[in-house]
């Protein structure tokens, strides 16, 4: 992990310059800049523009786009491509994500690095295909059966769709877990300025290729200091076995409680014990604030207007934006709770992150959730009223 190889981006995928594009297109450019050369997609609103752009761009960059017969196929074809040596992206929205849940688990247990993009729309079921939501946050954390720990990033602008996509690719190579870019319909479809830097300024984490010989190599061999195994690709002469069954360090099925204990503990601990290296919480005037608004994604931009209005009215209000949603920044939220009186948590769901904040705060401050069923964003006044009420 400490020895990960950091390279410059391959200039073939980097569209350096100033662009006026939407979040979906910016996400696609981020993936190309990060070295993604393989996408197997299935169209679904509001994520489709990402794969449309990839299909248009990839012939000249050099790679493959294939439109599959369904999301089950798409989410497995990308994983085959990883074991063939490619960096890959899986793109979908709510109903497609629900279909892909089994393969999310397959990526966790086989430690297949891949980026998953969910452009969130209103649910449940077909719900509101063209309206925003932030209601899949618990699904990606708990939606596949069994225990695992996910990483999820939450952009609030087209620029961040580009920037965080690159970080998502780097995180998935470092930790060998699927990493989510949790967009929403508004961020996906809003058009803004996006600066794409020169390739030489973009750091790309290389896959953790093994340097061991086939005789020495263990496909899932790890140490307590480095819980992420080294990788190979099919055709390198290592003759590996990869299975969704509980396995030993050779990758062979081992259906014993001891093997289960060893594997599952490592899979969750490689993230839990390294959460401080992954979390990203952007704070503004949190020190000395009476009220702190915890927000993420598109909701953070509505919250900003409310925060500025409250400050104009003399309230000491801070902002804590979760750029990384999972792992949750429990430690930092708990620290903030020592000084803040109250937390306001606006979110486009019926209460998924507010209970996480409550868990972190553990009674040390008031937590006010502002749930919203989605389809549009909060009214600024709703958040402002909550801040004023909490500050009283």
């Amino acid at each position: 992990m400490e020895t990960e190889a950091i390279l410059q981006a391959d200039p073939k995928g980097v569209l350096t310059g100033v662009h006026f594009i939407d979040g979906d297109h910016a996400a696609c450019e981020g993936a190309l800049a990060a070295g993604c050369r393989f996408v197997a997609g299935y169209p679904i609103t509001p994520s489709t523009e990402i794969v449309e752009r990839f299909a248009y761009r990839i012939p000249a960059v050099g790679g493959v786009f294939i439109q599959m017969e369904d999301e089950l196929a798409a989410s497995m074809t990308i994983q085959g491509a990883v074991w063939g040596g490619q960096k890959v992206m899986n793109v979908t929205s709510g109903p497609g994500l629900s279909l892909m849940m089994e393969h999310l688990g397959y990526a966790f247990i086989t430690e297949t690095p891949c980026v998953w993009v969910d452009v969130q729309r209103g649910g449940p079921s077909t719900g509101l295909p063209t309206g925003p939501a932030q209601a899949d946050l618990m699904q990606i954390k708990w939606g596949s059966h069994g225990d695992f720990e996910v990483i999820a990033l939450c952009p609030n602008s087209p620029q961040e769709c580009f920037d965080l996509m690159i970080r998502a690719f780097n995180l998935t190579e470092t930790w060998r877990v699927p990493v989510f870019l949790m967009m929403d319909e508004v961020v996906g479809h809003m058009t803004e300025r996006v600066d794409i830097p020169p390739a030489a300024e973009i750091e790309v984490v290389e896959r953790k290729w093994t340097r061991k010989s086939p005789a020495e190599y263990r496909a899932y061999g790890t140490t307590p200091e480095d819980m992420v195994p080294e990788m190979i690709k099919a055709g390198d002469g290592y003759r590996v076995h990869v299975t969704g069954l509980t396995h030993d360090d050779r990758g062979y099925p081992d259906l014993t409680p001891a093997a289960q204990d060893k594997l599952v503990k490592r899979l969750v601990n490689k993230i839990r014990l390294n959460a401080d290296r992954i979390v990203d919480i952007r704070e503004d005037q949190v020190e000395g604030a009476d009220v702190v608004v915890v927000s993420f994604g598109i909701t953070s931009r509505v919250a900003l207007a409310a925060i500025e209005a409250a400050r104009a009215l003399g309230v000491k209000v801070g902002s804590a934006r979760l750029v990384v949603i999972w792992p949750f920044p429990t430690t930092r939220i708990r620290e903030i709770a020592r000084t803040a009186k109250a937390f306001i948590v606006p979110e486009l769901n019926m209460g998924q992150i507010a209970p996480e904040v409550e868990r972190a705060v553990a009674g040390a401050a008031r937590v006010v959730g502002l749930p919203h069923a989605g389809g549009t964003v909060h009214e600024v006044e709703t958040i402002l009223d909550a801040i004023m009420e909490a500050a009283r």
């Binding site: 197997a40 397959y106 290592y238």
Partner: protein
């Protein structure tokens, strides 16, 4: 429980030569298959086909789904992938397109490939994805205890058809043919030489290859239907099979303990998905396009 068999020394001790051993992960033997099961026979044929194919085994990958046949990948000394139920073909598609130099084989059962994975079978054949699919058809779901499959003939009893199966089965060669497979064959585990030859031809063929191998499931299909043991089923295959190479696949459907048509039914040429992509983009995009996979060939 581990029998801790050292096959290599047994072989030496008894002066036997087992030409299949080098193709197996010997540290994973014994396998889980029941006595009389036909899957092992198909694997034996496959190992011989691998040897005869002349392929560099470092460049052959095997992908299985879930079920009894789905365990095959784990026993072969190749890059091997045991995937999720029904999704071996999508995984193989990604593997092949990511590293076009590989020969990718999907090895799975009838339930995995034609029920839960049926959609992928159809579309991979339609696209002429360059993979070989071996479908071991034992007419039942073995791993879960003998439930009705899309291949179960009308008539026999299964745990989820306790009064006999009233559905009609898939005719798998017809399905693969209709969807565009370039090579379609069916053999039984009685026809070991023909099956091994078909597998060798399949490994050497470019495009979507579909080979159906009929195999007994004595534990769950035969016993439940009073068909005897594995040997009795192989006798049935011997007595009721007729070889008809080039047969119209419409005519090769199976009935309960009825006549079996075996043979190589389809062998034709069609551009693969990747060739079609490369040809098309070279034509319409010209110099802005570099043929995909060319770099892999030069390694």
């Amino acid at each position: 429980m581990s029998l801790d068999l050292d096959l290599a020394s047994l072989e030496q001790e008894h002066g036997l030569e087992n030409s299949v051993l080098p193709f197996l992960r010997q540290d994973r033997i014994p396998h889980i298959w029941c006595p009389g099961c036909g899957i092992g026979t198909t694997v034996n044929c496959f190992c011989r086909a691998l040897g005869d194919s002349g392929l560099d085994l470092d460049q052959v990958a095997i992908v299985s789904g879930i079920g009894c046949t789905g365990r095959t990948a784990g026993y072969l000394n190749l890059d091997s992938f045991h995937t999720t139920h029904g999704r071996a073909i999508p995984f193989a598609t990604g593997l092949k397109l990511a590293n076009p130099r590989l020969k990718v084989v999907v090895y799975s059962g009838d339930g995995d490939l034609s029920a839960i994975g049926g959609n992928h079978l159809m579309h991979a054949a339609r696209r002429n994805m360059d993979i070989m699919v071996v479908c071991v058809n034992n007419f039942t779901y073995g791993m879960t205890g003998g439930q009705v499959a899309p291949t179960t003939p009308t008539g026999p009893t299964q745990t989820t058809m306790p009064f006999g199966n009233f559905e009609s089965p898939f005719n798998l060669p017809f399905l693969a043919d209709a969807c565009g497979a370039v090579y379609v064959a069916r053999w039984t585990v009685y026809h070991v030489r023909q099956l091994a030859k078909a597998m060798r031809e399949g490994l050497q063929k470019k495009g979507f290859v579909f080979i159906e191998a009929l195999a007994p499931c004595p534990t769950l299909y035969s016993r439940r239907n009073r068909l005897g043991d594995g040997v009795d089923q192989v006798k049935y295959y011997k007595e009721r099979s007729s070889v008809r190479n080039g047969a119209d696949t419409k005519e090769v459907g199976l009935t309960f303990q009825g006549d079996i048509v075996v043979g190589k039914f389809v062998d034709r040429e069609r551009p693969t998905w990747m060739d079609s992509m490369n040809n098309h983009y070279n034509k319409v995009l010209g110099d802005t396009f570099t043929t995909y996979g060319a770099a892999h060939d030069q390694d």
